[in-house]
Symmetry: C3
């Protein structure tokens, strides 16, 4: 685990291009900015290739998409592949809505993603494993989370991040578990989307080691959230949201190394 990759990221200030979830886009842009990367968003397919060219990584969020956006996502994923930019996908609600699973599966058959980040319900759906998702929430089930994540990674030929109380990161063989975090992430709607784009920022500075990038992004984000939550006496989701931005900007590698818990 190279937590120092955070300093590399801050020095490089990579441009992260996002197809964003309109629900959380402002928070995601501010989060990318706060941690030390540079966000750019697009809604217009005509500018796709130019946008991908000036970017160091691409994050595709499937939350709340419309049909024109699906065409755009396809074009952007294919351009990322052609131009060799790391590609992260966040398959929002594919565990709850069959239509979304079909769209996500179709898309992923037409480009190769490097990292998938989702909750248990979403990752289970992409691995074709039984799971009970609930709306945008993870839901619950009896399967072993590590096995689900590995099955998804093997099926999709990429790194998988299964977010939850413990994050599971796997390339299909190797597995890292990150134990940091706070329940306040669940109370703040944009947390998962923000992490997905931050994963893309880490991929941009990882020299192609996306398994390393994914686990580092998870430790950094979860540890920063945990530090913010510790300072609050109560579960205050609004205050948490503002201070998370502060902490994404201010927290040092040393701060994170002190509390990082993974195996």
């Amino acid at each position: 685990m190279k937590i120092g990759l955070l300093d590399t990221l801050r020095a490089a200030n990579p441009v992260v291009l996002n197809i964003s979830n309109f629900v959380t886009v402002q928070d995601v842009a501010n989060g990318i900015n706060a941690i030390g990367a540079s966000p750019i968003m697009s809604e217009e397919i005509a500018e796709t290739r130019e946008m991908v060219q000036i970017s160091s990584a691409v994050a595709l969020n499937l939350g709340a998409f419309s049909k024109p956006q699906v065409d755009h996502i396809l074009a952007m994923g294919q351009a990322a592949n052609e131009l060799h930019k790391p590609l992260v996908i966040d398959p929002v609600a594919v565990g709850a809505i069959a239509y979304r699973k079909q769209v996500a599966t179709d898309l992923m058959s037409q480009f190769q993603v490097d990292v998938i980040r989702g909750n248990a319900g979403e990752i289970a759906a992409l691995a074709d494993v039984e799971w009970q998702a609930k709306g945008i929430d993870a839901g619950s089930g009896n399967q072993d989370l590590v096995e689900i994540a590995k099955a998804c990674a093997q099926k999709q030929h990429c790194v998988v991040i299964l977010s939850g109380e413990t994050d599971v990161i796997t390339d299909g063989e190797r597995v890292v578990k990150v134990h940091n975090g706070t329940p306040l992430f669940q109370l703040h709607v944009g947390s998962g989307d923000m992490l997905s784009s931050i994963v893309a920022a880490f991929c941009a500075v990882s020299d192609g080691d996306y398994f390393e990038a994914a686990q580092t992004a998870c430790v950094v984000f979860a540890a920063i959230g945990e530090l913010v939550a510790k300072e609050l006496k109560e579960e205050r989701p609004g205050t948490f949201s503002a201070r998370l931005m502060d902490a994404l900007h201010l927290t040092t590698v040393a701060d994170i190394e002190k509390i990082a818990q993974f195996d």
Copy 2:
């Protein structure tokens, strides 16, 4: 007035499906989450029926809509009717823009809403009463607010919430007035939209008594806002917004009962 319905809501954690106003969508999603429900948003008509099926209530916001979104709103309203899910509508700016009034009227002739929530200008427009609205603001007029709300409820065959310094809630016959609140709601753009979706969350746990759900939602939201405002020495709209999220999550039924003012 059953303020305890808030505890029922928090225990049930109902999924609230939203056609949202893109201006305020993030705040609305976070507000639904903070009070104890689970938000889901959609922009794609093809997933409408599936989305309505997994939801416990539907909130349609007409703020800043486009023509494709109108088709989507229609499909979602009709699906909510067919699947017997409570349906709330927020007719943003129908008092100021004739085009919006026409669209809202057309829509409401094609499905039956359970609750309309708007400001005086919006409710007057849907009741065909004279009123001077101004942009997204309520405007002013000489009509009695209770009579306007009752006329709208009778015309639209539903519960009406007329939001303002005093909220008026009516089913066309019975009337409840809620006197809690704070002028800071006016300074925070998403307050009304958030209330509309919170009304839907209360409808989801009300056993079909939407008049009860509507008044309880108004007291809960207005009282929480008032408690937050009291802690601020000055009118600080940014701090208010963050602390409102905190308070939606932390405020108890007992806290609200202490200051609730209605008749």
Copy 3:
């Protein structure tokens, strides 16, 4: 420099109509509200003329636009010209993406804007001057910023605001430089978009003197940001964002006059 124009704005509470950047729209709406104007947003071309009629100024943001939105921007710009409403444009990323520059140039050949507000990369692009932009960031170059701003103003026949560490405001002949501000604006994604809409609000109360309106808006916004930043011991972008809203509402003309720095 008439900083007292802020009081005129607050007394008049002008309606500012926005084609907004979906990334930052909520912050922009809240910022317009907080400073004392009234925001209205639209996504539907059919309501354009009505919307422009009830507005006192129009702000067009080119961030993250799609093709249907371009048609809407064109209709709104032309309606603003016909109805003699001041028109501000924010040409997001035209310095980095050739497609955006082409769209912006096409649009501006079909209506006359009163004020352009952008960073150095964006203003250089519209002046056809060499510059190295980076994503949504300003980039860097060797050209004199005053000359770039003047060239753009002369080419586009309007007032130009070139935002940066020092803001340059020019009508092509006269030049004002504003030295207030804080690096925290760079860490908060919506700052530039918010300023553009606040410029429109000042234009609405300026009796047609858009050069005066532009420079006053810049001093007011930059000084308020500076005051907020001074109270923070560290660079805290999330806290800055919330307190900026507070300060837009609470800061007085006298507070601003005490620290205003321009020449």
